[in-house]
Homo-oligomer: 180 residues x 2
C-alpha cells in the first residue's frame, strides 16, 4: 500500500492540487509509481479524512474549483515511519516476458508477430532512456551537495540502469530471433 506515501512525498516536495499531482505522477514520480487521477482523488480524500493532509483556501466551491493540499505533521510522521519499514521485493509481473514464453508453446506463427512487438518496446525504452539521460544532464551537475540531492540522483540512476537493461535485453532478443 504505497500510493498514499507516494502522494505524501509529492506533497512534501510541493503542495499541489489533485490535477497537479496527476500531472506530476505522469512525469517524475510516476516513473516508478504510476497512478491515475481517480486513484489520486480518492486517496486525497482518505488522507484528509485521516488528518494527514489539509486543504488550503478551503472556501472554494466544491465543484470546478481547485483545491491545494499540504502535509500535516501526522502525515509527515506516517511517511517517516513507512520509509523505515521493511518490505519484500515483489516479483515482477511482465507481460512481454510472459508473451515470449507463451510464444514458445503457441507455435511458430506466434513468434513472427512478437518480433514486431519487441521492436516497438525497444524504441519506447530507448526514448525513455534518452529522457532520463537528459534529466541527468540538466538537473544533476557535478556538484551534489545536499543529502536529498544525492538520494534523488540515485533514484534517477535506477531509472537509467533499468532502461539500459531493457534496451540491452531487447536488442539481444531481436538479434536471436533474426538468426533463426
Amino acid at each position: 500500500m504505497s500510493l498514499p506515501h507516494a502522494i505524501l512525498t509529492a506533497l512534501l516536495e510541493k503542495p499541489s492540487s489533485g490535477l497537479e499531482l496527476t500531472r506530476r505522477f505522469d512525469r517524475s514520480i510516476g516513473y516508478f509509481w504510476s497512478a491515475t487521477h481517480q486513484q489520486i482523488y480518492r486517496e486525497l480524500g482518505k488522507l484528509e479524512e485521516a488528518g494527514q493532509i489539509r486543504a488550503l483556501r478551503s472556501a472554494e466551491p466544491a465543484r470546478g474549483g481547485k483545491k491545494e493540499y499540504e502535509v500535516l505533521p501526522a502525515g509527515r510522521a506516517e511517511l517517516a515511519e513507512w520509509v523505515g519499514r521493511s518490505e519484500e521485493p515483489k516479483p515482477i509481473r511482465d507481460a512481454l516476458l510472459l508473451r515470449l514464453r507463451a510464444a514458445a508453446v503457441a507455435g511458430p506463427d506466434a513468434v513472427a508477430g512478437i518480433e514486431k512487438e519487441l521492436g516497438r518496446h525497444l524504441a519506447l525504452h530507448e526514448a525513455q532512456l534518452a529522457e532520463y539521460l537528459d534529466m541527468e544532464r540538466r538537473q544533476f551537475g557535478p556538484d551534489q551537495d545536499s543529502e536529498a540531492d544525492r538520494l534523488r540522483y540515485l533514484v534517477l540512476r535506477g531509472g537509467i540502469e533499468l532502461e539500459r537493461f531493457w534496451t540491452g535485453w531487447l536488442t539481444e532478443a531481436l538479434a536471436t530471433l533474426r538468426t533463426r
Copy 2:
C-alpha cells in the same frame, strides 16, 4: 489481463492440477508472473466455464480430490491470439525506489534506516541471480536446437540481466550512502 494466458501457457507446457500450478507459479513461471492459489483456482473455474480448458478424470469428489486440467483447442487459439496482441509496457511500480525518494524529503533519520533495507534487498537479488545462473548452467547447454528452447532461454536471460541490474544499482546506492 494476463493471468489466464499465463495459466494456459503453463497448462500447455504440462497439464496440472490447481495446486501443481500454484507450485509452478512459485518457481519458473512466477519469476515473471506471480499468482496466489486463490487467483489460480478462480481463474481455472472461469477458463473451464469458457470452454478453454477441461478437467481430466472429472469423476473425483468435489472436495479434497485433485483435478487435473488440460487445454482445449479454443484455449490454444485464444493464447495464440493474445501472443500476437500489442500492449503498452506498464510503468514500473517499485516501492524501494519510492522509499528512497521519500527518504529524501522525510529527513536524515529516515535515511539511516533505509540503508539496512537496501542491503537486505541486495542479498535477496544476489541469491535470485545465483539461482538463475544455476538454471542457465543446468538447463541450457551449448546446443539449443529448437525454437522453443531458444525462446525460453531468452526469457531466462531477461531474468538474469534484470537481477544484474538490481545488484549493480543496489551496490552503487549503498556505496553512495556510505560515503556521506
